[in-house]
Amino acid sequence: MSELSELYQQVILDHNRNPQNFHRPAGANQTAEGYNPLCGDKITVYLRVHGETIQEIGFEGSGCAISKASGSLMTTIINGKTIKQTQSLSKKFQEMVTCDLNIPPPSDMGKLIVFAGVREFPMRVKCATLAWHTLNAALEGKKETVSTEKPEE
């Protein structure tokens, strides 16, 4: 497979065309906005959290195929997960898209493995991680927009 088809896998193209959970769920009680000033990608993540569980997740926004598909796939996986599971998955996703090309991507990423090709395109890593950064911010209850150009910690 060429690097390009590695990046734009069919699953990614499908999610870009028909993003899942692309709305504000009723009863959402936690939300955050994310922004990538370099390309103008904007995303809002909505959560309905009950206790330790994310009962429902949705997102809205505009961006490139990678960022939109990443948001869409993220929502399909996070629905129903606990906060702890979500945070650990978010960390693993971040590691997968930034890890060295010589080491194989982790085997337990499920559907998210389609984003492993992003490693070949360092300029596009932020597109893939924007939704996840925004999800983290929503969980932490951050008020201001998270930006890919500001250090997280």
Partner: protein
């Protein structure tokens, strides 16, 4: 039919070693000239020669190398004077680039001249570097920006401009050529109109110098700013032209060596212009490289370059119009060879990544002109911008690469 070109583009390309390389296994097609141009061998050689055989600090040494470097540095100043037809050599200031040139004017001329409730007029199509320095000044002084609007072709609405001028206007700051749209603004008219009210004008010439003949006396602007790296010269060097009378009245920009004539702890006497504005050891190699870039441009002739680029623009506009669901943004009648576009439903960054895999380098994003993006209601665009070494075959390569985008996104 392709128009006859007045020079041999293949020979021009021979001068640019970088163009011979492959990118992702494909021949490099470099169409990001509005961001920075590639450098001809003459410029690369000048930098190397300076560091190899002439390196010394200028203006103070009495030794052989220092005299040699000083002479070459000052000869370049004279060369720049001729290049833009300034009246006097001392009207040429070396700075880091257009951005620093504009900041210099904002922090010296601006700080003295602009008071509370005053106004600075600029346009909707300015690069951030001709917005933010004025915004900083306005915040400090309690002054405000007034913006000349543009129409949907990306042309300034001059009737609106006229209405913005008043006694409060302290400066008009305007791009000669828009980096995001390619529009060539009627700056001579704008300057004339501003002068009727006695208002000075700064022209951001970053996108113009490599494409149009610049004559600052004919334009009669008070300031003209440009960068070396967008005219086939090195990065890190640029020029601010200013009318001598104004420069003399302006306070210094930065303090340090070279800008003084005498220093005690009580008081400093400043040097004469242009040195008053050139604190610290300058980018000597950069200045010498800039001189080599002017040599390069003059060896071809700026008019010939402009004609070639105009032919490319015409052909590229026609070719891109045939790409399905592609919309050109910036369709002014007077345009430089910049094609800014969006493709229906596809984010420009996806376009950029896909064409890059075909070896085609274009720019994607907001091009440091977010107000332009807001005008056209897009978060970002893709931009192909042409230089003297680009060919008609490269336009075909771009179109082929854009068709690849549709293959991926179907």
């Amino acid at each position: 039919m392709r128009p006859a070109i007045p020079f041999d583009v293949d020979r021009v390309r021979e001068d640019f070693p970088i163009l011979k390389q492959k990118v992702h296994g494909k021949t490099l097609v470099y169409l990001d000239n509005a961001a920075t141009t590639q450098k001809p061998q003459g410029v690369i050689d000048a930098l190397e020669r300076y560091y190899r055989t002439e390196n010394a600090n200028i203006h103070r040494g009495v030794h052989y190398l220092s005299e040699l470097a000083t002479a070459e540095f000052e000869e370049t100043r004279t060369q720049v004077k001729h290049f833009i037809n300034a009246r006097e050599v001392r009207e040429i200031l070396f700075v880091r680039g257009t951005t620093e040139a504009i900041n210099l004017v904002a922090q010296t001329f601006g700080r003295v001249q602009v008071k509370k409730d005053d106004e600075i007029v600029l346009s909707e199509m300015e690069h951030h570097s001709n917005i933010v320095p004025w915004q900083i000044l306005c915040q400090e002084k309690g002054a405000r920006l007034r913006v000349i609007p543009m129409n949907d072709a990306g042309e300034l609405i001059l009737d609106e401009f006229k209405k913005l001028l008043s006694k409060k206007t302290k400066l008009v700051a305007i791009a000669h050529v828009s980096n995001a749209l390619g529009t060539i603004n009627p700056i001579k008219k704008i300057i004339e109109r501003a002068h009727r009210h006695g208002i000075p004008v700064l022209v951001d010439g970053a996108q113009a110098v490599a494409h149009l003949k610049i004559d600052v006396q004919d334009l009669d602007c008070e300031f003209y700013a440009f960068s070396g790296h967008k005219m086939y010269g090195p990065t890190g060097i640029g020029v601010l032209y200013g009318k001598a009378k104004l420069l003399e009245e302006m306070p210094p920009y930065q303090g340090g060596g070279d800008m003084i004539s005498a220093v005690t702890f009580e008081k400093t006497l400043y040097n004469v212009i242009p040195y008053k504005f050139e604190a610290g050891t300058p980018d000597i190699a950069g200045v010498i490289g800039l001189g080599a870039a002017i040599d390069f441009i003059q060896s071809i002739g700026i008019e010939n370059m402009g004609q070639h680029e105009e032919a490319l623009l015409k052909e590229a506009t026609k070719s891109l119009s045939q790409v399905p669901r592609l919309r050109l943004i910036g369709t002014a009648r007077e345009k430089a060879a910049v094609l800014n576009f969006v493709m229906e439903g596809i984010h420009p960054h996806d376009i950029g990544t896909i064409v890059d895999q075909e070896g085609v380098a274009i720019r994607t994003g907001h091009h440091c002109a977010m107000p332009v993006m807001q005008h056209f209601g897009v978060p970002a665009t893709a931009r192909a911008s042409f230089g003297v070494y680009n060919t008609f075959e490269e336009i075909e390569a771009l179109v082929k690469a854009l068709k690849k985008v549709w293959e991926v996104f179907g």
